[in-house]
């Protein structure tokens, strides 16, 4: 029976493919949009290409240039030292995130304290995240330079002489010694810091009793290095957009009511379950295609390294089934296509927001985060994917997939019952 119904719907889809193509184009467009928002491609944030125009060219500025290539900064920054014209050309060609200009006499002005000094940052307007990161970094550098000026201001004339090559080694050694003593004296105030901030690890998903009783294993070391902001957001976005696509797809139930074909089916078959199941199955296939476009497209186009493709595929199947059968229930509760569209959109949005799909769940109000979100399948899906990929790969994805599958079947039965009740009350197009 299911095969007959599916064959019929596939024939209809073949003759009128536009709604299907639109449903698949939406996730494609969303993936592209999110990808472009986060810098246009590359794994994680990638190395930020920064143009540096050093018009001052002093030992101090050379030291600053050197710092940008050393240690962890070197992992994230790719400075290119250019003259101003070349830097502007590269910026216009969208090959740089920003250009840092160190103006002439910057060192002299800074060390003498005779004038207000400034660094110039020219941001690339065609990019969004990388230039903002550089702006934040530069603020840190400026704050550090200001702190140095306040604490070592009295020594700056001597240091200026050093940078201008007018001091001998003995004077330099004395300067370094005094700087060391000052730092030693300030140590108690600097380390340990009075106020610290450390990022909270993601709250564990509230699994059913069996999973909750066993404490989560600590994340595998080194996993955090694979964090990908786009991938993290895409997991939630996928959860949200699959709900929207499911809503669009399951609106076909309203169309069958309007065409009186659902009613005709019921005059031939007593059970409505196969009819609703056919729609849910077809929508699930469409959602899996959408999921492949979103997650697979993200992996291919934006080089997101999904670490657990099998688990991801299983979760997608479970979630697609949930989304489709949930929308079938909404279809059974709403009167017509127009009302159905509005209700589907609102409910999908609410589920996505409350489930931490639209925003990371840590940003949600405590009441929602602690008591409501863990009950929502959107949260199960998005958080399990995030924990799998960025939480050390330790998430009970099999259990969550089963939960979603069982919930899907229950919702499917509820949808069929609701439609039967509506028929008995005189459901008409």
């Amino acid at each position: 029976m299911l095969g007959i119904l599916l064959a019929k719907d596939l024939r209809r889809a073949r003759r009128n493919p536009l709604p299907w193509l639109i449903n698949l184009a939406i996730p494609l467009a969303i993936t592209a949009l999110i990808g472009l928002t986060f810098g246009g491609g590359g794994a994680a944030l990638g190395r930020i290409r920064l143009g540096v125009v050093d018009q001052d060219d002093t030992p101090l500025t050379r030291m600053l240039r050197g710092m940008s290539q050393q240690g962890r900064a070197g992992n994230h920054l790719e400075p290119l030292f250019l003259d101003r014209a070349a830097a502007e050309r590269e910026l216009l060609a969208n090959k740089l995130a920003a250009v840092l200009v160190i103006p002439t006499n910057f060192t002299r002005g800074y060390l003498s304290g005779s004038q207000r000094v400034s660094l110039e940052l020219i941001k690339n307007p065609a990019q969004s995240v990388h230039p903002t990161v550089l702006e934040e970094l530069l603020e840190v550098v400026v704050t550090a330079l200001s702190a140095l000026a306040r604490n070592f201001g009295s020594e700056f004339p001597a240091w200026q002489a050093v940078f201008e090559g007018q001091a001998d080694y003995r004077q330099v050694a004395a300067l370094i010694e005094r700087a060391g003593e000052k730092l030693q004296a300030a140590r108690a105030y600097v380390n340990p810091p009075l106020v610290t901030y450390s990022k909270q690890p993601p709250e564990p998903v509230s699994w059913p009793a069996t999973a909750r009783e066993s404490p989560a294993r600590p994340a595998k070391p080194g996993r955090a290095d694979g964090f990908n902001l786009f991938g993290y957001l895409l997991a939630g976005m996928t959860g949200m957009f699959l709900l929207f696509i499911a809503g669009n797809s399951l609106n076909d139930l309203h169309r069958e009511v309007r065409l009186h074909t659902f009613e005709r089916y019921h005059t031939l078959r007593h059970s409505l379950l196969p009819f609703v199941a056919g729609k849910v199955a077809l929508a699930t296939v469409l959602l899996l295609a959408g999921s492949a476009v979103l997650l697979g497209g993200g992996a291919l186009v934006f080089r997101i390294p999904w670490q657990h493709p099998l688990a991801l595929a299983a979760l997608s199947v479970g979630y697609a089934g949930f989304a489709a059968s949930f929308m079938a229930v909404l279809g059974a509760l709403t009167g017509d296509e127009r009302v159905g569209n509005t209700v589907n959109t609102l409910v999908a949005m609410a589920l996505a927001v409350a489930g931490g799909c639209a925003f990371p769940p840590q940003q949600l109000p405590a009441l929602l985060r602690q008591h409501i979100s863990p009950l929502l399948p959107t949260y199960w899906f998005a958080e399990t994917v995030r924990r799998l990929e960025y939480g050390g790969g330790d998430a009970p994805w099999v259990q969550v997939t089963l939960q979603l599958a069982i919930l899907s079947l229950a919702l499917l039965a509820v949808a069929a019952l609701l439609f039967r009740r509506r028929f008995r009350k005189g459901l008409r197009a």
Binding site: R12, L259, E263, H266, R424
Partner: protein, 292 residues
């Protein structure tokens, strides 16, 4: 629906006649199991529908008033799909669809999508979709609404053939001519009540045989019920400001009837003698025209 009882026999075409909103479609919905009655029961081949709805549905074919077909599918695909749902195998559905396309005169358009069909062709496919499994009881809900006379003629001819083949047919309509020319027995339905049923002749006899007189006169202030001789000889069917419709009560000669009517205490402008039709029956039963 209120206390509606009737039966449809094998090889019989039973018409349910009534104005819009009389309860015709609701009656069919109760029979097909779309609606659940709050009292009473539906028997299909002697078995209550509620005992084994799926078994009962296998014996029935339902043609809804609105087209219930897929316009994106071809005529053949529609027929085969509904045939499969009715329990036929793929081969049976294919073969039966071919037969029906031939019988409905749609063989040459079988591979075209229904979207490209005319209104009459869509109606024929709509009818055919209920016949794949050769139902013993066919329920037709106003199957000729909104189509041209030629297409209607074709469909009515096809329905007559089905009746001749032994199918029990329950046919709802608000077209008097269809009920009069097509149906073996007719039930008159209004406001959810079955007011009368029987063959056309039996219903006509309710009015006193095959003669009805229409008297035209100024009757605005006339108290016709008090007119001497009218009530004794005639059955009053309808009275309006300009018209009095009566049927002869006994076996009176038409000339005598005319003489009696001309003797009424009113200036008669015209008298017409006609055969009573279902509208007159409906008029007598409800005081309203069926077409109102």
């Amino acid at each position: 629906m209120d206390d509606v009882t009737f039966e449809v026999r094998a090889g019989e075409l039973y018409g349910l006649l009534g104005p819009n909103g009389a309860g015709k479609t609701t009656t069919l919905s109760l029979i097909t199991g779309l609606l659940k009655p709050d009292a009473g029961k539906v028997l299909v081949a002697g078995t209550p529908l509620s005992d084994n709805p799926q078994q009962a549905k296998r014996l029935m074919g339902f043609v809804p008033q609105d087209l219930a077909i897929y316009e994106d599918l071809t005529g053949r695909e529609n027929l085969e799909f509904w045939g499969r749902l009715a329990g036929l195998s793929a081969g049976q559905a294919r073969s039966r669809a071919g037969e029906l396309l031939e019988a409905l005169g749609l063989s040459d358009r079988a591979q075209d999508t229904v979207r490209t069909y005319s209104g009459g062709m869509k109606r024929r496919i709509n009818l055919g979709c209920a016949l794949l499994h050769r139902p013993q009881l066919l329920l037709l809900d106003e199957p000729t609404v909104g189509i041209d006379p030629q297409a209607r003629w074709n469909i009515l001819g096809f329905i007559r053939e089905l009746r001749a083949g032994g199918t029990a047919i329950l046919y709802t309509t608000h077209y008097l001519e269809e009920a009069e020319t097509l149906c073996d027995r007719i039930g008159i339905l209004d406001h959810g009540r079955l007011l009368a049923e029987g063959s056309l002749k039996q219903l006509q006899e309710r009015l006193g045989g095959d003669r009805v007189f229409v008297v035209e006169a100024d009757l605005k202030d006339a108290a016709v019920e008090k007119w001497h001789g009218l009530g004794a000889r005639f059955r009053l069917i309808q009275k309006s400001a300009r018209q009095l419709v009566v049927a002869a009560a006994g076996d009176m000669d038409p000339a005598e009837c005319l003489k009696a009517l001309l003797a009424l205490p009113v200036r008669v402008e015209n008298i017409t003698l006609k055969r009573p039709n279902l509208n007159d029956v409906f008029l007598q039963l409800t005081g309203r025209e069926l077409r109102e």
